[in-house]
Amino acid sequence: MKKTVDVSIPLGPVHPCWKEPVRLKCETAGERVLRTEVELGYMKKGIERIMRGRPWQEVMFLAERVCGICSVVHNMVFIETMEEISEIAVPPRAAYLRVIVNELDRIASHILANFSYCYTIEHETLAMYLLNTRETVLDNLERLTGSRINTAYMIPGGVRFDLLPEDAAAMLADLAKVEDEMRRYTGIFETGPLIALRSKGIGVMSREEAIRSHTVGPTARASGVEDSDLRLRHPTYRELGFTQITRTEGDNFARVMVRFQEVFQSIDLIRKCVDNLPDGPIRGGGLCKAGSTSYAGEAPRGELTYTITTDDYGRVVDIAIRTPSIMNIEACAHSMIRDAASIADVTSTFISSDPCIACNER
């Protein structure tokens, strides 16, 4: 970036607001922040290089360690890509169970993102409420899959564990509690006058900018980009009658509210899945074959694409992962943080776009 102003303030890589290391370089004039630039590269582990030449049984576990927050969806998209290459059909019960686990993960991820935002704008009470609710969601994830974070629940042709009726009842009871609590917290966020001062009209990204910079996920939906949720194209979600949530403001408030609303939508989807859970096997079996394809799914942060080439023995010859955060972070730096009133707005705007650096750099 060409230096045109008086002071340059670096934020990070170790910063109280960041969960992960990233550096924002701010060009300032007095208190105002004119422009920002993102410096990445602190988390580059070369996971795609490790994946190449390994059998899918190993790559499956590597795929979910691309990102710890949304590990389930990395697992799901990788497995569905392998299924598409090998033409493996999934039993209907397994397809529904996948949606349940994926939506539980999405709820946990969205609550964590909103926790970070509330923590950044120094509303610590609401942040702690949200973090406590997230623990209830993770309990359900653990009860069903056996693990809190890296679950490795899905395998080609099905899932690992069945949902027992008593577990389903406990999950529905917990979800009712989560929904109740989240309604209260959404009310606190929506009506808080000081939250509105820190959030409304700050970090605005227009619909045209969102489309031009290819933003995805809740960041795009908050700016009013229609048809930007890939769950609309997923067969199981279509069966469940999924509709997309869109807001038009495009500011920090809208981005956080979209995530709040999607939590309720996910809870409804899980309820629908549990109520209409088909009987039958949870593992269909199948053989991974040679082929090459590109497949996309909706991660909590947006569109996640896996491009995989395999050989006859089920080994991954070539793999390329496109994660959602890379577009969102760049759009955040160039479109949202422009002429911000202070450094405090820069951190809150950056966190509101839900950056996931581990996903981003791999």
Partner: protein, 151 residues
């Protein structure tokens, strides 16, 4: 043992400031450290404050296998922390590299090669309770009678 040392011991046992640094993990351990803040585990009732500021930290939680960018920066951060200080490795990554210690990787684990590690919490990722108990058991060992041991 002097009275001053007794007072310091008593105060330090209920005031542990924690900073965490992610040197290249999948951030699964990061969010488990964050989960310790939740009222369910309530890290602050033990007198532990997560500030993420190395200059006022007592305990440094190191997460992740070391990526090239962090090789020199990790040492810098370690030097910025005032004495007495202690580093705890969270997760498998700083201990062995976990899944990243394979052919073709860009990381150079373990973290022990760069800074002294006092305790290790294995797991991928470890539970918040394990992280909490590791901090609580290692911090008093380092801080108890620190000034008298120095003499």
């Amino acid at each position: 043992m002097s009275i001053l040392q007794d007072i310091k011991n008593a105060v330090r046992s209920r005031s542990i400031h924690v900073s965490y640094v992610d040197v290249g993990s999948c951030n699964g351990c990061d969010i488990e450290v964050l989960a310790c803040l939740a009222p369910r585990y309530d890290i602050e009732q033990y007198g532990i404050y997560v500030h993420n500021n190395p200059r006022e930290a007592d305990v440094l939680l190191v997460i992740g296998s070391v990526t090239p960018q962090w090789v020199d920066k990790l040492r810098d951060i370690w030097e910025k922390i005032p004495d007495p200080k202690v580093a705890v490795a969270i997760g498998n990554c700083p201990i062995s590299g976990c899944v990243y210690a394979r052919r073709g990787t860009l990381t150079t684990p373990p973290v022990e090669n760069y800074i002294p590690i006092a305790a290790q919490v294995p797991g991928c990722p470890p539970r918040p309770t394990e992280i909490l108990s590791a901090i609580l058991s290692v911090a008093p060992l380092i801080y108890k009678d620190y000034e008298e041991k120095q003499q």
